[in-house]
Subunit: 537 residues, 2 copies
């Protein structure tokens, strides 16, 4: 994707798209109404020239010179992800751990050469896609026993190399961004239909390395499910799995690299399963008077075999904040889509389940057929646009000393009530303990026959200069609570460096032993993203 | 499951259920019609006392004595799987590699104790569920540098330990057989709905260790998809993953043990995702005049998002042999089932796709609602019963010098036509090369949006005394052909010892490196099922 816009070095997305004008006015007014004691003074990011970055420790070998950059702006922009704590630290000029070099390969053999050099020279390598990690996954928080840190920016490997329309699959380079990928597939009538909130600024390789959660609330929830084969450059050789729709030949090679977060190798390309672009759509929002009934209805839908495309239960706080809807029991946002057949039948059956559990439909379900629709068909586009604006709004609030962050998990249905109660209590107590006031919201991002992926939001008034530590304290408390309640430390945000303490507890010890052994075999010098997932060496 | 019947030591299932009378008469008549030159003289298995088994090399430690058996019948029965080549070798008295001891743990701590003893004493351990491997996975074809071989029969660990009706999941011990499991779940209205052809005589642990293929033709095709968490005893400790409906916390621990075929640890229990028992069913058989159109129709269904429960395209040979139907283009067997809603709507849309591609419906689709149905509802029960009889019939034909065996693969749709042609040609040429005549059939067991799992059958006249070698030659030829055409060496039969040459080529080298390292870390003495999947040490 060519863009005339300028990427922000410190915050989300493009400088030109930052919240301003009416949007900013409305946003701060709502924040002030919700958190009346908040100090909403705006704070600006320092200039890069004022950051006092440490000098690069690495001198570039001549063969790689044309791929390398030690430009301060480049190094600062690659020093962090896009979590709340990243953005605030940047705003405060707290940018001390930066990569020594940014390397931009233009081919897979460049990646091989780079890993060879780094292995020989004891240089840590962080594979970097779009830089949207929210778990410290690409932050060079790395011990000093390495000669330096290179960030390997795969943005130059951004082509769709082959399309197989018969099998509906494509061979795609890892560095491609979401919009560029969809633009390339659209003329073929195809789509990957993987739309994480980071869609505009994240890459296929990043999605694969972190087991990203996608568009579909059911069945194909993770990018894992859309992978036919992968190509991964490791320090000991290139791994390429066979293109297969399914297999039972030993443990799945792809499943070892999915979620390996740059610790086992650098993903350079993958054959991905595609969808036909949907034609028929159905959307509905169901209001409940009682949250327990709303949860039971959602579970019944998840276990019905109807497989809705979207099945997002917003609790009353979330419904109020992000959908402007007042309700006692929350709002269930439902959608179906199909390229093959009208989806009214499925929606009608789903709404029947909702009614059985006391759900009400303030507005009738909406059905559309893109064959006869006006462009830009209303509600779902509006929601998607608002969904993609959220990170920009987060930055506007973060720069005004608000604590605005999310965290997520998954658990089986039998544990959900207890987990939500424990997490909400822990969050509220932690907010109070850091001297703040705030609210905690919950929505479901994905639902399964046997459980659910709840996604929590925290909105609290912070003290400028302390909001990172305040958030870290809250995050530790909720992580402890959700882990103790049987949840996973992450359903789709990855482990990175920030989730390590809870991941280490959650992961079976023999699996850690096996993973560490696999890492040592593939990356004997321990150069690949040290500190993420497992201890490097 | 208690049974008054006697398990056959040499062939499939129960002695009392062997093919006889009318069934035998009809079967041999059909075989004679199809292969008029076949010599159908029947051959009997020798008595176990005539086998001259080698003496056991192991003396049992006192602490494990009550769990151990060196009874010749026990050792002979555990010396082989249930492939054609196993059955014929048994019939010929070719039983030379037998385990030294059969050990039957009554608890997980027995498993721990056994692995400790075997690690200390350099004894190879073969984890054994129902003994239905068709790939040499449980055959003690093991180098002499071990002090002996123990077969660990998990049949005593056969309980359902917990049922969570809210999440529809159960904690189940690995040694339970299919029917016992379903009998235990039925009163709760639940079902695992995993029905491999080996269902009656295979176990949950075996399904997990081999990534077995199941009942559903779409979406949840493998047992992998039904796993919430697993407990695995390794020589270095017990691995237990957290019960989760989905997760993105690093590479999946379960996916390392799924398909590990007893090489990384012994699976002792798992939390499995269950289904409500279906109430509504739809069944139809669609006849095509042209196989290419039948394949295109099947692909369109697989890509439609309709997700049929069954979608089994029989080619004309398969339709004739196993469904008694003459057709130019084959028969597509379709089914839907649901516990939640009538499934007529989905079937009607599916049949519409078939019609668009020239499919004809000789009989109307059948719809049933078990709430008002007579017990034993016709066609699907009849098919299932016939499906479960096939291995018994295979034995009757194998003992009459016929070569009767199957093999399977999966490939993307773009490669299917070429793969089927190459495999069929290779099979026919190999049949001719071993001096035989025969037929080759093909059906689909599972379909995916991006590809298909074809399952081939070979029926050929053999020479008694040579049929194992004849089959091995044919199998090598078809394995070579399907592997060269881009297929997997196995979609759901596992790798075992027989598929090693092609698996070793298919598996990416760096993954082999990683898997070997993981194995060495978990099983440093290399005692677990040596020779399966990877080289032990």
């Amino acid at each position: 994707m060519t863009s005339a816009k300028t990427r922000s070095w410190w915050g989300w997305g493009n400088v030109e798209d930052a919240v301003s004008g009416e949007e900013l006015h409305g946003l701060t007014a709502r924040a002030a109404a919700m958190l009346p004691n908040a100090d909403l003074t705006s704070h600006e990011a320092p200039a890069i020239t004022d950051l006092n970055l440490p000098a690069s420790r690495l001198s570039v070998p001549a063969t790689l010179a044309t791929l390398c950059s030690d430009d301060p702006a480049d190094r600062a922009a690659h020093a962090h992800g896009q979590a709340f704590r990243d953005v605030v630290r940047n705003l405060q000029g707290d940018v001390h751990r930066v990569p020594d070099l940014i390397v931009r390969p233009t081919s897979e053999s460049d990646v091989v050469d780079l890993l060879d050099w780094c292995t020989r020279s004891n240089i840590a390598v962080i594979a970097y896609g779009g830089g949207t990690s929210v778990v410290g996954g690409i932050e060079p928080r790395i011990d000093d026993d390495y000669a330096g840190v290179v960030t390997l920016d795969l943005g130059g490997l951004d082509h769709v190399l082959e399309i197989d329309k018969t099998s509906r699959a494509a061979r795609i380079q890892a560095g491609i961004l979401g919009p560029a990928l969809e633009n390339r597939l659209r003329p073929e009538g195809l789509s990957l239909r993987h739309f994480p909130q980071s869609f505009e600024f994240s890459t296929l390789g990043g999605w694969l390395a972190t087991r990203a959660g996608g568009h579909f609330a059911t069945v194909y929830t993770h990018i894992d499910d859309l992978v036919e084969s992968m190509r991964v450059v490791t320090p000991t050789g290139i791994s390429e799995s066979r293109r297969l729709p399914g297999s039972g030949a030993g443990p799945s090679p792809d499943r070892l690299f999915l979620g390996s977060e740059g610790t086992l190798g650098v993903i350079t390309e993958a054959w991905m399963r595609l969808q036909d672009r949907p034609r028929w759509r159905a959307n509905a929002s169901v209001v409940f008077d009682d949250y327990a009934s709303a949860v039971t209805a959602t579970r019944a839908i998840a276990q019905s075999g109807l497989y809705p495309t979207n099945c997002r239960l917003l609790d009353p706080v979330e419904a109020f904040i992000n959908a402007g809807t007042s309700s006692q029991g929350g709002v269930l946002v439902l959608a179906y889509e199909s390229a093959h057949h009208p989806v009214e039948h499925s929606m009608v059956q789903t709404l029947e389940i909702c009614r059985e559990h006391g759900g009400r439909l303030p507005d009738p379900a909406r059905y559309s057929d893109s064959a006869d629709a006006r462009p830009g068909s209303g509600a779902s586009d509006a929601w998607r646009s608002s969904f993609l604006r959220m990170p920009y709004q987060r930055d506007a609030l973060a720069s005004r000393a608000l604590i605005v962050e999310t965290f997520e998990t998954a658990c089986t249905w039998d544990r959900f009530d207890e987990l939500r109660a424990a997490v909400t209590t822990a969050a509220n107590e932690a907010i109070a303990a850091v001297g703040s006031v705030g609210v905690v919201s919950c929505r479901f991002t994905h639902v399964y026959p046997d459980g659910v992926a709840p996604y929590f939001g925290v909105y609290a008034a912070g003290r400028w200069g302390s909001t990172v530590q305040q958030w870290d304290d809250i995050k530790a408390a909720v992580s402890e609570a959700l882990s103790n309640a049987g949840g996973t430390i992450t359903h789709h945000h990855a482990v990175g460096r920030d989730h390590r303490p809870w991941y280490d507890r959650q992961r079976p010890d023999p699996f850690a032993t096996a993973l560490t052994a696999a890492k040592s075999a593939l990356d004997p010098s321990g150069i690949l993203n040290p500190g993420v997932l497992i201890d490097p060496r």
